[in-house]
Amino acid sequence: MKKISKYLIAIVLVAMIITGCAKTNNDSNVDVNETKNMQNEELKNSDFVGKKFAVITGTMLDKIVEDNLGNNELMYFNTIQDAIEAVKNKKVDATINDEPIMRKFIAQNPELSMIRPPLTNDNYGLVVSKENPELTKKLNEFYDQIISDGTYDDMIARWVDNKDTPDMPKIELNDKNGTLKIAVAAVTEPFVFYSTNNQIVGFDIEYARRFAQFMEMDLKVVDMDFGAIIPSVQSSKTDFGSALITITEERKKMIDFTKPYYIGGTSIVFLDSKTSAEQTSSIGFIDNIKKSFHQNLIVENRYKMVLSGLWTTIVISISALIIGTILGFLICFFSMSKYKLLNWISKIYITILRGTPMVVLLMIIFYVVFAKVDIDPVVVAIIAFGLNGGAFIGEIIRTSILTVDKGQIEAARSMGFSQSGAALNVTLPQAIRTGLPVYKSEFINIMKQTAIVGYISIVDLTKVGDIIRSRTYDAFFPLIIVAIAYLITIGFFIKIFDLIYKLTDKRQRGVR
């Protein structure tokens, strides 16, 4: 244990140095002259022709950049935070995104500037499945109603034209007509984002709640990656989606849009050398770490989020291991059976499961297999990882059994042990000894691979890191925290497996 703690200290130190050095100044309390930053007079949109852009996967941004500027090199990111971080680290020259969102980012990152006027003007709509025209109609009716009674203007004033983050108004809901499910990507302040008490809030959420009230239905908010929203609505996992989705002809082929509920545009954001030069580190190294620590873990009790994400990761990993082990025994039994048909089934199963990337498998199971089924994504993840684990664990069990000396099995059989008796008394105890170390690494593998479950809107440890980043605009500290959390957890489970391994060796138990 002493050794482990030494390693941990070393890791934490390295992490701190990295975080400290990669100085990210993101104190939202710094007073910034907004107008100065937002109205950069020296640069125009046309100055960004041929520059390197950060764009978000699954959006129209790449097309917008190409159509309006041309000759640009593009880098794809999953969240706006990542794109902003890339700009700040000079990995790209600029990023582009919806103007109201960018406005908030610039308020919190004074070294960034935005080009005026926006590059394009856009209409944003809510997405509804083509199979549900009734809902589209209702949403449009609702829109007309709040425009006419002034609620809409009031909402815009509170959420968008407001420097501070407002509180969500209380909107009472009942489930008289069932529950509506809305798909969002909660990383787009002020439209949809995680509030200080880790609730998903924003203009869109208020909009959706008011609509639910209008429909006399309850509302369930499902957070996912932006790119997953349209597939989710298409496959009826959710009823409608919103996250400033630009209305385009291409998208209209796949999904229905409501009337535009917000008219905005896309603006270019870049690292302004002048403003950033003024912001160079005036705070001490240690203070920096302290502040990062405070902001990423203590504020809004974010450590609780980390712990709950970790718990989700552990639950998925262990459940998947159990399912994988049961399946593994079955697969092993099939592949060692004397019946050709069973051999073939196991062979096909192993080939397919081992040859498919985990992310793809996970999404297929979520969006295709369980498309029309209302199922907890965590269960889907457990099934997906269990299925995948089954293929690998099956092979582990098979090879472990094959390493046991056939002669010993013959000896047991010649004494009068039945086939299962020989397996139980002779084969298994020895196969466990050979198989356990490989089994352990398979479990570690599963646990690390679960980092992708964010794809199907599960808030696991990795996703928590993303959420914290989306709130604090600090890329490094949350990632390091997440990495350390994985490391400690995996180290803990390695210890447990090693303990089990020791227990299987009777000699070390001191029976002699």
């Binding site: 000396d405 002669g407 010993q408 013959e410 000896a411 047991a412 059989r413 010649s414 004494m415 009068g416 042990f417 039945s418 008796g421 008394n425 002779v426 105890p429 020895q430 000894r433 009777k506 000699r507 029976v511 002699r512």
Partner: protein, 356 residues
């Protein structure tokens, strides 16, 4: 106790056992000997059905064990088997190896099984190793434990599959001593072995297997001292044979003598004996047979075990014995001097067998 009728075992097209018949009585000790690949081990493994016979019948204590309905596990409890590679259970200590059968299969209490195990360890002389593990023992010790493990099941018969073949020569003795002790106590045993002296010493009957059948069987005395059939004799006396065919007078004599010389060297025939063989062969071929101008088949063999030497020739043409009324011939004199017996016969071909 065991009655085997027309036992046949094929691996695909390869016929290993071609119809084995045997009767084994209680208290008998049978040794099965024979050249490698003759089916000894397969035969033994068919008896406890580790191999499934292709056809034939095996009855053990009047139970037909080739019958699919027979509870094999029940039958096997009565038949212990000792393997060439010991096959101790690596995951168990020595005493656990001996206790596992009685506890799990005979449903004995742990205390009772332990008591028996300690006694058995005493019998095989390894009391001190009770809590050791198989990988801490020598080959000989492992095999003794394997025997103790079989005995723990209180079997009616023990099958030994080459119990000493995987052992260092220095350890063969200790295992054989344990088997001898069992023999004295009247245990019924079938032993597949290559240890001829041991087989001769311990057995009540010997099965000589060859080409998938029991080729000859008898008491050790019959098999080892006066084997009736040629293949038995060849095996028992470890006969080595050299063949050469002479088609005409102009054959390559030097080549033949060189091959014969190599043959003698390869099989470790001592120099003096080799010289005699070469001398007789030369006199017989060059001086007595070649002048007749006939096709000659030469077959020279020696028996390693009893130092017997044989020169057999067959030649074509009219009946003619070069030794008849030819005592004055120098070659005849030389051969007469060396050989113990010279036999002439005629059956389509002339045949001379010279031996000493």
């Amino acid at each position: 106790m065991i009655s085997i009728t027309n036992l046949i075992k094929n691996y695909g097209d390869f016929k290993v056992l071609k119809g084995v018949n045997a009767e084994i009585e209680k208290g008998e000790i049978i040794s099965i000997i024979g050249p490698s690949g003759c089916g000894k081990s397969t035969f033994l493994r068919c008896i406890n059905r580790l191999e499934t016979p292709s056809s034939g019948e095996i009855k053990f204590e009047n139970i037909d064990i080739t019958d699919k309905k027979t509870d094999l596990n029940k039958v096997r409890k009565k038949m212990g088997m000792v393997f060439q590679n010991f096959n101790l259970f690596d995951n168990m200590s020595i005493i656990e190896n001996i206790m596992v059968g009685p506890i799990k299969l005979l449903k004995k209490s742990k205390e009772e099984a332990e008591k028996t195990a300690i006694e058995l360890l005493k019998i095989v002389g390894l009391s001190g190793k009770a809590n050791a593990y198989p990988d801490q023992l020598s080959g000989g010790q492992k095999q003794r434990i394997a025997i103790a493990r079989c005995l723990s099941m209180e079997p009616d018969i023990l099958l030994f599959d080459e119990p000493t073949s995987a052992l260092d020569p220095t350890m063969v003795g200790e295992v054989m001593a344990v088997i001898r002790k069992l023999a004295q106590d009247g245990m019924t045993m079938i032993i597949v072995t290559h240890e001829m002296d041991f087989a001769r010493d311990i057995s009540s009957r010997i099965f000589f297997m060859n080409e998938g059948v029991i080729y000859e069987e008898g008491t050790p005395k019959e098999i080892f001292e006066s084997p009736k059939r040629d293949k038995t004799r060849e095996f028992i006396y470890r006969r080595k044979t050299f063949n050469y065919s002479i088609k005409s007078n102009e054959f390559d004599f030097i080549h033949m003598m060189n091959n014969l010389n190599n043959f003698c060297f390869k099989h470790g025939v001592v120099k003096a004996a080799a010289n005699k063989l070469e001398l007789v062969a030369e006199e017989l071929i060059m001086n007595l047979l070649l002048p007749l101008n006939r096709e000659i088949d030469l077959n020279i063999s020696f028996e390693e075990r009893n130092k017997g030497y044989f020169i057999k020739t067959k030649y074509t043409g009219d009946k003619f014995n070069p030794f008849l009324d030819n005592e004055e011939n120098l070659s005849v004199k030389i051969i007469d001097n060396i050989a113990n017996s010279i036999k002439y016969s005629f059956d389509e071909k002339n045949e001379i067998i010279i031996s000493w």
